[in-house]
Amino acid sequence: MGIFAFRSKPKQSDAAKEFEDNVLTHLDSMYAVARRLTRDPSTAEDLVHDATLKALKARHQFEPGTNLKAWLLRILTNTFINSYRRGGLERSTVENAQDGTDPVSDGWISAASMRAMREPEEEALRPVLREELSRAVDELPDEFRVAIVLCDVEELSYKEIADAMGTPIGTVMSRIHRARKILQDRLRTHAIEAGIIEPDATDEAHENNVVPLAARRIAR
């Protein structure tokens, strides 16, 4: 129908084509994020297709000089939330369950265990844990997965993620933080099962982190 399409002038077709070319340079990023969000290759393709066309139609809303990739990922995220899920991003039971509690108190991992889960001398996980991490990300609740994917996979800023998800920055930070806790916990469990690490000594954990919140306030 195009009634609300902004007035198109003949010369705009060149500009439209140029914009399209710019957008398509970010296709791999969009596809990678879509794969993570939808967890399914063909759904990911549909999502990227729909989001890209939306972006092309909305090109007048893009402010030149700002981050095009972030803008595209915002549209992609919005399209995912609005059209590929029913009912938007509901607060998950995980998020609700952890409200008011200290997320640090669960799944504490000792420095020695963390070191054992990495490749020696490298900031890289052991291969067996990389696969587990990938699975664990897929199993995160949607709002955690969106946040962690935009942050870690595409390295958007907290502000850009907040814009994409339509939430305050504080919510983004808490989702990323909690998502990492969940992922770390999964890795730790898997590492114990794989015999890479021993269960951490509880007294060490207690000393560092598992002091009840009230006791900790007094101790402060």
Partner: protein
């Protein structure tokens, strides 16, 4: 130990490069002497790196690129032809009662100046998903209009809602940007959102339903509604405007405030088109 604890709180933003320079230096200083915190940073980075590496190995299929290019070409070639969006699968029949009710209706509208003055800055915020659901619900399942005459809608509804309601102005604004499109006012009705009154105005724009809500933003605090993201858009007059955008009940909703009046729009259209309407109202 308290030093470790306060450092650990800063580690996620540190690892993500979101810490202020002074805080970053502070953390750096602590990490120099603390093996435990350094190990946490290294572990967090190794997790980030793992996800990042996997992403580098993900390449969009050529068939997807080609498909997008074909679609984009089609869109460019004919601005009039639009892929059926999934929203339009929701039957117009739901509104049949109203469409019939419009009847002899009100076709000619004066183009009053709709007061396109300074754009009120509206912040995206939290809480009350119910509000979004209520607005969208009134579009999704419209009730028959109470009043068809736009002048009477104004005189009856304005005192109740607490802000002026001018159905005619919107009918003109809905045609903004495309002189050929037809916009018909299909009557109005008072609704309650969070038990506060909102004038609900029904329009038919080229066969698609558009619902415009007019309300007092002091009573219906759309700014505090949850699940709305704020976007700055430019109207066809070149005016920048901040619009809150969300979706509920399968319909997009765009809301904004201007001159102490709250407006929300939902329609049988894509989100982009609804934002386009809101930007021109």
């Amino acid at each position: 130990m308290s030093n470790c604890r306060s450092t650990q709180r800063a580690l996620p933003p540190y690892v993500d490069g979101e810490l202020e320079a002074s805080d970053t230096l502070h953390v750096d200083g602590h990490l120099d002497g603390c093996l435990s915190c350094s190990e946490r940073v290294a572990f967090s980075r190794s997790m980030k790196n793992a996800l990042r590496t996997e992403r580098k190995h993900t390449v969009a299929p050529d068939s997807l690129r080609a498909r997008i290019q074909r679609s984009a070409e089609r869109t460019r070639a004919s601005e009039q032809v639009r892929r059926p969006s999934w929203q339009s699968a929701i039957p117009w029949a739901a509104a049949a009662a109203i469409a019939i009710g419009i009847g002899g209706g009100t076709h000619a509208f004066g183009s009053h100046d709709s007061g396109k003055g300074g754009g009120d800055s509206v912040n995206a915020a939290a809480a009350h998903s119910v509000m979004l659901d209520e607005f969208a619900g009134y579009h999704a399942r419209p009730l028959p209009p109470e009043e068809l005459d736009p002048v009477r809608v104004n005189s009856i509804f304005s005192p109740i809602v607490g802000v002026p309601v001018h159905p005619k102005n919107f009918a003109a604004a809905l045609m903004e940007g495309q002189p050929t499109s037809m916009s018909k006012f299909g009557g109005g009705r008072l609704m309650r959102v969070h038990s506060e009154p909102a004038a609900t105005l029904f329009y038919d724009v080229d066969g698609q339903r558009v619902t415009v809500f007019v309300f007092d933003p002091q009573r219906i605090r759309i700014r505090s509604a949850c699940c709305l993201s704020s976007q700055v858009v430019r109207s066809t007059h070149g005016e920048n405007k901040t619009i809150l955008v969300g979706r509920a009940k399968g319909y997009p909703l765009a809301a904004f405030e201007r001159d102490g009046i709250g407006y929300a729009v939902s329609a049988d259209m894509s989100e982009k088109d609804v934002i386009g309407i809101a930007s021109n109202l």
